[in-house]
């Protein structure tokens, strides 16, 4: 294993062939209602939410805390069913907020977990996951346990695990919320690059408006609970985007206003 300092990517990064994924598929959410009934009465999480994500489009959903963002992701992943309305989505994989890597398994085995679940032997799964480590800036860390990795690297392993599930739709639940600001900025550029290489339909839930504008093709703003769409902002900017770019800043301000005022 090389020293951790040798991590910085140089010009000759071997690029692995794109990872296998099912045919691109989009997401359609139509007039969805979802209410949780608890002992202390009913809480409406989503009310009349309609949302489209085209195949291989990146859509960021921003909204105040508790606006039903996580419920939306679980509906798309078929972990919940709506009370009313319809959800049609291609096979989706869920990436939770915390990396939730298995502490007893190596980084390679963590990334290869979906392949194991799909029936590959341990050796086969490792061989298939290994080439992606270099591409994703993880070369040399295959054998490392999650506790030996930095927060940013753990998040990369978790994202690689998500990709190796081979599903066309990625449901990302505030993937960088637990990282410090510097690492988060790094990881956002990294994710943008990774998605250029591995196009997927992405539904990214975040409360970081800047993250949404830097990463997404379109930003959807949700209202406070019960969540419904109050604004949609296309982000027709070339990539890679810089967070200090004036067009990015302008869109960020626009999204912030929509978030605060509920209108554009």
């Amino acid at each position: 294993m090389p020293a951790k300092g040798a991590m910085t990517t140089t010009a000759e990064v071997p690029v692995s062939p794109p990872l296998a994924a099912a045919a691109p598929a989009g997401v359609r959410v139509d007039a969805v209602e979802r209410t949780y009934r608890g002992r202390r009465g009913a809480v409406a999480a989503l009310s009349g939410l309609t949302l489209r994500v085209a195949a291989n489009e990146i859509v960021a959903v921003v909204g105040p805390s508790g606006c039903g963002k996580s419920t939306l992701l679980e509906l798309v992943c078929a972990l919940q069913t709506p009370d009313a309305g319809r959800v049609e989505a291609g096979p989706a994989v869920y990436m939770p907020q915390r990396d939730l890597l298995l502490p007893w398994a190596s980084a390679l085995d963590n990334a290869a977990l979906p392949l194991r679940v799909h029936g590959a032997s341990r050796t086969e799964a490792r061989e298939r996951a290994r080439p992606a480590f270099a591409t994703f800036g993880l070369a040399g860390f295959e054998a490392a346990r999650p506790a030996e990795l930095s927060g940013g690297m753990r998040q990369r392993v978790a994202f690689l695990r998500t990709l190796l599930a081979g599903k066309p739709v990625l449901a990302l639940d505030e993937p960088f919320a637990s990282l410090d600001a510097l690492t988060r900025a790094d990881m956002q550029s990294w994710l943008a690059g990774a998605l250029l290489r591995e196009p997927r339909t992405v539904l990214l839930v975040t409360h970081d408006v800047e993250e949404a504008v830097v990463l997404a093709d379109r930003v959807v703003v949700l209202s406070p609970r019960p969540g419904r769409v109050v604004a949609e902002l296309p982000v027709p900017l070339p990539r890679p985007r810089s967070r200090t770019d004036s067009a990015v800043v302008a869109l960020r301000e626009q999204a912030m206003r929509a978030l605060q005022g509920g209108t554009l």
């Binding site: 992943c77 298995l102 007893w104 679940v117 799909h118 506790a147 690297m153 449901a171």
Partner: protein, 248 residues
Amino acid sequence: MGAALLVLALLGGWELYADLGGIDQFLLPAPSDVAASLWTDRGLLWDNFTVTAGEVLLGIAVSLAAGVALAVAIHLSRTLRRATYPLLVASQTIPIVIVAPLLVAWLGYDLGPKLAIVGLICFFPVVVTTLDGLAGVDPDLRKLMRTLDASRLQTLRHVEAPAALPALLSGAKIAVTVAVIGAVLAEQAGSSDGLGHLILQSIPQFETARSWAAVVVLAAFAIVLFGALALAERRLVPWAHRSEGDVA
């Protein structure tokens, strides 16, 4: 280090009390008398120790196997949990001291009742800790596994079982310490050999020091078992002892 000093001080105090306090050595032998008995009765102690050790090890093995199997079954089936959990808790309210002779009357003087008693005592900590370990998996991780198309058994195999291993080993550590007590209790309820039997037999023979020597052997055995498990823990579940956080 501190523990060793404390033990030495206690032994010294006991020695002084027994020697200078004019206590009859048939009532309370001094540590030196016990040490002498450990040496002179070594053959007798060893023969009886092998019997007790066999009961303890076999009893632990049986309760580990049965305990883990039941924990997994209860974890997978809510119906089974509702049906067996109250029974499981009720089994721990049985006063073993009183039930032991009844079991001996029923099952006889051989290995049967000893395994039953050791098993009854060890079973519970193993089931409860393993169950907690299996259930303690992060709900988000379960959701992730579901979106990876993992079946219930695959989630058990790849996530829940390894996650429960530290808890299982904690349960086993509790189990080994009580297993020794259980085996002695079972022997005292009716047996023709074993250290529990030797202790009972030595008292009317005024071989009090030998009884104490047997107690020392039992305690040492329990400590060795506990130590072996602590070692296994460090080897098998190193992740459970490392603090989580950024190292790099």
